[in-house]
């Protein structure tokens, strides 16, 4: 007798239909309408066909949040291990030490990279992490105003707005100067007794590396400093912990995670130790087991939704554990020297790119140092024409910030992969198009 029959027998029923007798006939479904099952190899055939309709062999100058970077294959190997991939949230730590230790190491690596005290075990992406940071600031100081740079992209602002909507917080933009950096005077004038947090970006939404962010802690008064950074840039740039950040946020996709059409991503959140009990999400702590042996475990769960319910510091349940593993293994493989090299090459390539475009009369909008994304003055929308030539790039600033005054602003992005050959191909294509 097959297993289903013998189970039905044991239950004293004739078919599984009977197990659904509690479902009112009035809500019964006729059919789903998806069709017949498709054999596994035909699923793969269809997937390969669809995938072939996506262009991946193009030269990539896209960025502004998602970057095409070198990912050591060992990172893919590690996150593909089913012992990690097909496990669940480590609710039973005795059999989950692998994941727990790897997250603890992620927390440590990011804290070292950011020079911050603590790092949580992940948010969904940089944008939602910024939203959570604003909520956290509110929990810390109860104030209502968030100041953000004018270079904040509309989509990021939209996510932030949604996160603070329930708190009725107010979001206000401060100005940037002609170098594309923080207008300190303008910002200073907006900081008042109701200011919960000042958000700074480095590099900012214009792609500019902004040393003015280092001075904000001096002028922020009672408010908190939330720094939104590029984690790769921290291979050389001053880290948020060195300039008085209270909370530091980043999008972690660049740390070993494929672009994947923009998801899943990794929201990084680090903060000062004092604020840990106000922090959202998950934390892994070190402790000992019954034999006194080092062991890792989820801690401060009393802040979390499964314990605290309506009073939790966030609703986070599934977060981005596997991607912390990617980031942790990426940072471990690159090491200080590797990450520094990647960051410096990025700056070098951005410089090469600007010089090469400059040679054909395409000027930078700002006379400042860019990290990955450089904003050029190009009136025409060149993106579709470039795509026809096998090149991806040319995002208009106005597609990211609708009412930006830099209406000719057009982005081209460099990473450590953007060698001179690729830049030359872009220059040649632009010469034809423009």
């Amino acid at each position: 007798m097959d297993e289903i029959s013998s189970m039905l027998d044991y239950l004293g029923i004739k078919s599984t239909e009977e197990l659904f007798s509690d479902i009112p006939l009035s809500v019964r479904k006729k059919e789903i309408g998806i069709g017949s099952p498709l054999d596994e190899h035909l699923v793969l055939e269809r997937a390969r066909k669809y995938a072939s309709l996506n262009s991946t062999e193009m030269l990539n100058f896209l960025g502004n949040g998602i970057y095409d970077r070198v990912i050591p294959e060992a990172v893919n190997y590690i996150i593909s291990k089913s012992e990690f991939l097909d496990s669940y949230t480590p609710y039973q730590p005795e059999v989950s030490q692998g994941m727990l230790q790897s997250i603890f190491e992620y927390q440590s690596l990011i804290s070292d990279l950011f020079k911050m005290d603590f790092t949580n075990a992940s948010m969904y992406d940089g944008y939602s992490a910024l939203g959570e940071a604003a909520r956290m600031a509110y929990r810390i100081n109860g104030k209502n105003k968030i100041l953000i740079p004018e270079s904040t992209y509309d989509s990021k602002l939209s996510v932030l707005k949604n996160y603070v909507w329930g708190l009725s917080m107010k979001i206000e933009k401060y100005k940037m100067n002609e170098e594309g950096k923080i207008d300190i005077d303008d910002l200073q004038s907006r900081i008042d007794g109701d200011t919960s947090a000042v958000v700074v970006e480095n590099p900012n939404g214009y792609g500019v590396i902004d040393e003015n962010v280092f001075r904000i802690s001096e002028i922020k008064k009672e408010s908190l400093l939330i720094s939104y950074v590029d984690p790769i840039s921290l291979g050389v740039l001053k880290p948020p912990g060195e300039y008085g950040s209270d909370i530091a946020i980043a999008e972690g996709q660049q740390l070993g995670i494929p672009m994947n059409f923009g998801g899943p991503l990794l929201g990084i959140m680090s903060f000062k130790a004092d604020y840990v009990r106000k922090s959202p999400g998950r934390l892994i702590g070190e402790s000992v087991d019954a034999d006194g042996k080092r062991a890792f475990v989820m801690t401060l769960q009393t802040r979390e939704q499964h314990i605290r319910r309506a009073k939790a510091t966030s609703n986070i349940c599934s977060n981005q554990a596997l991607l912390t593993l990617a980031a942790g293994s990426y940072l471990s493989i690159l090491g200080s020297s590797g990450l520094k090299k990647v960051a410096l090459l990025t700056i070098k390539h951005s410089k090469n790119l600007a010089e090469s475009l400059g040679n054909i009369g395409i000027e930078k909008v700002f006379d400042s140092i860019s990290f990955s994304d450089t904003l050029f003055r190009i009136d025409k929308n060149v993106m579709l024409d470039l795509a026809k030539k096998g090149i991806l790039g040319g995002i208009k600033l106005t597609s990211l910030i609708k009412d930006s005054k830099y209406s000719s602003g057009t982005f081209f992005t460099a990473t450590e992969k953007t060698d001179n050959e690729k830049i030359k191909a872009l220059v040649n294509a632009l010469e034809v198009i423009m």
Partner: protein, 465 residues
């Protein structure tokens, strides 16, 4: 063995990029002082994580019957689909004509989710189940704002997942809890009493966290709708009812899906997940943007929803998870999905019957995909029994949830486990009762580490090396 932390491993960095670059490219005032990442060989990193992997339980090693978490076997073909270069290496800002395959998959998935749920429009953007809930809450909020109604309360059953009240609070709502009745279903009288002009929505899982189908769901819908409020479906347990009924048929207005649960995408040790949200047509314009449209010729990202709440995450959702769910759905088709639910419910009721002579299994007897037992009648603690289970090379159930059952163990076998697995699991649970309290409290002892001092973890708070 005890695996050192990566910082304590000593070797030489083997990562290399051959192009040279001079540090002077960056002015000193912008530079960091020092950087202290590990400098080890790739081999050491691979070894480190390989060893850690062997200290981690996975559904590929054994069954993982965590209630409500739906830890079924994740088929390998779906991983293969998500690993195809043509899907992995595309940038979200590529022109639409260079990502038609990706948009096609997303469009199809939207359609499939609509058919499965009998809802009218879908956004794939939320990044996890709880994020789907939050999105749903924002839609509720915007809907009433748009209508000019000031509704401040969300009603939630006492058996609900913790994310429900947490999400409601994030949206700025007050949470009103309603009790369950003696069948483990929503107490209709209590619900009627709780509903008012302040009620924005009622959030409910069906079948609920006790594994019991809310048979009064139509009445519930009537109560909620009559009050002018919205009915929200927490899709964590959707895998119990594929093809049998649907949130749409039951009268729900907003639904979130947990693709990683229902459609077998890997849980990744706690994410990434994917939490699409579906709504009835009158709420379509409130969905986050963009959604994917098809004009008969090509697929495009539609940002033009009139009353959209805007965005809840950076781009278009957890694309690599969406891919896997899409694969799983077309692989199964109508018949396959129906079988998923039938077998999940069969497994649950079979295991329940094997255990009911030993453990108290409260409330309505016919279960769906999961059930909750209480160890209270046995004199043993659920926690201790859970730890004993670990010693048998299998994973324990969810413990101490839902809160309305004392010493609760919430067991969801899922459809991919065999009768032999269930028999073995029952044997272990029954065997546990023969052990002394002392013996149980000494468990586990066959695991990588033994019981962990959680108090110390919270007190000393060592969150980095």
């Amino acid at each position: 063995y005890e695996e050192p932390i990566i910082k304590d491993i000593k070797s030489s960095n083997t990562f290399s990029l051959s192009e040279q670059v001079d540090e002077s490219i960056l002015p000193e005032n912008l530079k960091r002082k020092d950087l202290e990442l590990p400098e080890v060989s790739e081999y050491d990193v691979v070894r480190h994580y390989t060893r850690l992997s062997q200290m981690n339980y996975t559904v590929d090693v054994g069954i993982y019957p965590l209630g409500s978490c739906t830890m079924k076997y994740n088929p390998k073909f779906a991983d293969r689909v998500s690993a195809i270069d043509g899907f992995r290496n595309i940038h979200p800002f590529q022109p639409e004509n260079t990502v038609q395959g990706a948009l096609h998959v997303m469009y199809d998935l939207q359609e499939y989710l609509k058919k499965i749920s009998d809802m009218d429009a879908v956004s794939l953007q939320p990044m996890a189940g709880a994020d789907g809930e939050f999105t749903g809450i924002l839609i509720v909020k915007k809907y009433f704002e748009d209508k000019g109604e000031d509704r401040t309360e969300i009603i939630i059953p006492d058996s609900a997942h913790g994310t429900n009240p947490a999400s409601a609070t994030m949206g700025g709502f007050d949470v009103v809890e309603v009790p369950s009745d003696d069948k483990g279903m929503v107490d209709l009288e209590a619900l009627r009493a709780a509903v008012s002009k302040k009620t924005a929505a009622f959030m409910i899982t069906n079948p609920n966290t006790l594994g019991i189908f809310e048979q009064n769901i139509e009445e519930i819908a009537k109560i909620i709708h009559n009050a002018g409020a919205l009915l929200y479906y927490d899709g964590a347990n959707l895998n119990a009812i594929f093809g049998i009924t649907s949130p749409g048929l039951m009268g729900f207005d907003i639904v979130h899906f947990n693709l990683h649960k229902s459609f077998a995408t890997p849980h990744g040790g706690g994410g990434p997940g994917a939490g699409p949200v579906a709504v009835k047509s009158f709420l379509k314009d409130f969905l986050p943007v963009p959604i994917v449209d098809f004009d008969g010729n090509s697929y495009r990202l539609n940002y033009e929803l009139k009353k959209t709440i805007g965005k809840v995450s950076s781009f278009y959702g957890s694309f690599s998870i969406l891919l896997r769910a899409w694969s799983y759905i077309i692989r199964n088709g109508d018949d396959g999905l129906k079988n998923v639910s039938a077998r999940a419910v069969l497994n649950s009721n079979y295991l329940k019957k094997k255990l009911e002579k030993y453990y108290d299994i409260p409330y309505y007897p016919l279960k769906k995909h999961e059930f909750v037992l209480s160890t209270e009648n046995t004199g043993k603690r659920a926690l201790d029994i859970g730890k004993y289970i670990l010693d048998n090379g299998i994973h324990s159930p969810t413990v101490y949830f839902p809160l309305i059952v004392k010493e609760a163990m919430m067991i969801e076998p899922t459809e991919t486990v065999s009768k032999a697995d269930l028999d073995n699991y029952a044997d272990v649970l029954i065997e546990a009762l023969k052990l002394s309290d002392e013996e149980l409290k000494s468990r586990p002892k066959n695991t990588a580490v033994r019981r962990i001092d959680e108090v110390k973890a919270a007190r000393d708070l060592k969150l980095k090396w």
